[in-house]
Amino acid sequence: MIWDWAFAASIVPSLLDGLWVTVQVTLVGTAIALLLGLGVAVVRYSRVPLLGKLFDFFVLFVRGTPLLVQAYFAFYVLPNVGVQFSPLVTGIIVIGINYSAYTAEVYRAGIQSVPAGQWEASTALSLSAVQRWRFVVLPQAVRDVIPALGNYVVQMFKDSAILSAITVFELLSHATSIGSGSYRYLEPLTIAGLLFLAVSLPAAKLIKRLELRLAHPR
């Protein structure tokens, strides 16, 4: 009953299919998280009257509740009010929005680290609010926080396994599905774990390198 190599080899292709879905979820989710988080951060930082407060609560609430329960909520409740997506799309949107609350905080740190003199010089040059964000503040703010954002991308990659609970057919779902067909969990779960490592370890190393590069330019 212990490890069966032939069986292990036979399930790798299917697990790789699952890994590919996981990667897709991560990529699209990342795009949502990076853009939405940026918007949330800018609105909060600009103290836009009502919206700013709303986003404050959004960040607090999303960070205070489990991704799994958020996914359940979106998956089971939203269709009742007429919002209807496939599990995959639902999952991507949920994880993207969830992580936007985290990236918003990262961006905020980046924005705060831009010296006041940069804002003042922009005023002295009569740049409009939009121009100021676009040409002066964000390029500097974002550059500093790229490694921190990268860490959240890796984190999202791992967390996307949670979406298996709403039947997104990603890596872990492939593993349990193999388990249900073959009645063995040992090999699929172990290989799934190794596949997660195979992506996230090099990614983390890459981010470390980037961090050092940005800290000591040239």
Binding site: I2, R63, P66, V77, S160, A161, Y185, T190, L197, A204
Partner: protein
């Protein structure tokens, strides 16, 4: 909402399990974090290397995979943990791996002179840790550990996927029975949020308690090291 009222005791029972998982998980997390973090910093390879592997594995894979693995695969190696134990172990090992980096970071962030000052007084490595390093490093660890604990609380929801009857698990059960999907998930979202909020408020309190009147003291010490000679009035 009225549909789920008869099931409220069931949900509250689940909440209790969730809080118990969090409490035990916090203890394991802290123990694992210190053990792995300190070993990782050791100069002895046979300590630092395994700690490094542990940290990389548990930070590099999905918490859910770890949970499934401990629950369904570990028994084949002769280790049969009851579901609650498997759950808190997965939570504690996973969050502990993150905590290990916090421990290491807080200790390495201390000025080198502190260690050297202690060596110059002939303190043993244990005494250095106990009287000089940790008393300064631990207050610095509290805010990041607060984040880890909130993470832990949220991750307890995952144990519902391996039959531990926590809040989320009970919610799924009540939902399957009553079909009151919105009310059930709305209720537990609020419950989780309140619990997480209370936890972070508690950690904030602890931070202030551990560090009475210190906020301006530590930075000035650092400043002093880089811009020496300044007199700090009080």
């Amino acid at each position: 909402m009225s549909q789920i009222l008869p099931f409220l005791p069931l949900l509250l029972n689940g909440l209790l399990i969730t809080l118990a998982l969090t409490a035990v998980g916090v203890v394991i997390t802290v123990l694992v974090a210190f053990a792995a973090g300190l070993c990782r910093m050791s100069r002895r390879r046979w300590l630092s290397w395994p700690a490094g592997v542990f940290i990389e594995i548990f930070r590099g894979t999905s918490m859910l995979v770890q949970l499934f693995w401990l629950f369904f695969a570990l028994p084949f190696f002769g280790v049969q943990l009851v579901p609650f134990a498997a759950a808190v172990l997965a939570l504690g090992l996973n969050e502990g791996a993150y905590g290990a980096e916090i421990v290491r970071g807080a200790i390495t962030a201390l000025p080198r002179g502190q260690r050297e000052g202690a060596i110059a007084l002939s303190l043993t490595p244990y005494q250095r840790m106990r009287y000089v390093i940790l008393p300064q490093a631990i207050p610095a660890m509290i805010p990041p550990f607060g984040n880890v604990f909130v993470d832990l609380l949220k991750n307890t929801s995952l144990v519902s996927l391996v039959t531990v009857a926590d809040l989320t698990f009970r919610a799924q059960m009540v939902r399957a029975t009553t079909g009151a999907t919105t009310a059930v998930f709305g209720t537990i979202l609020v419950l989780y949020f309140v619990a997480a909020y209370a936890l972070s408020v508690g950690m904030g309190r602890l931070e202030r308690r551990m560090d009475p009147g210190r906020p301006e003291l530590r930075p000035t010490l650092l400043q002093r090291l880089f811009r020496p000679g300044g007199v700090v009035g009080s």
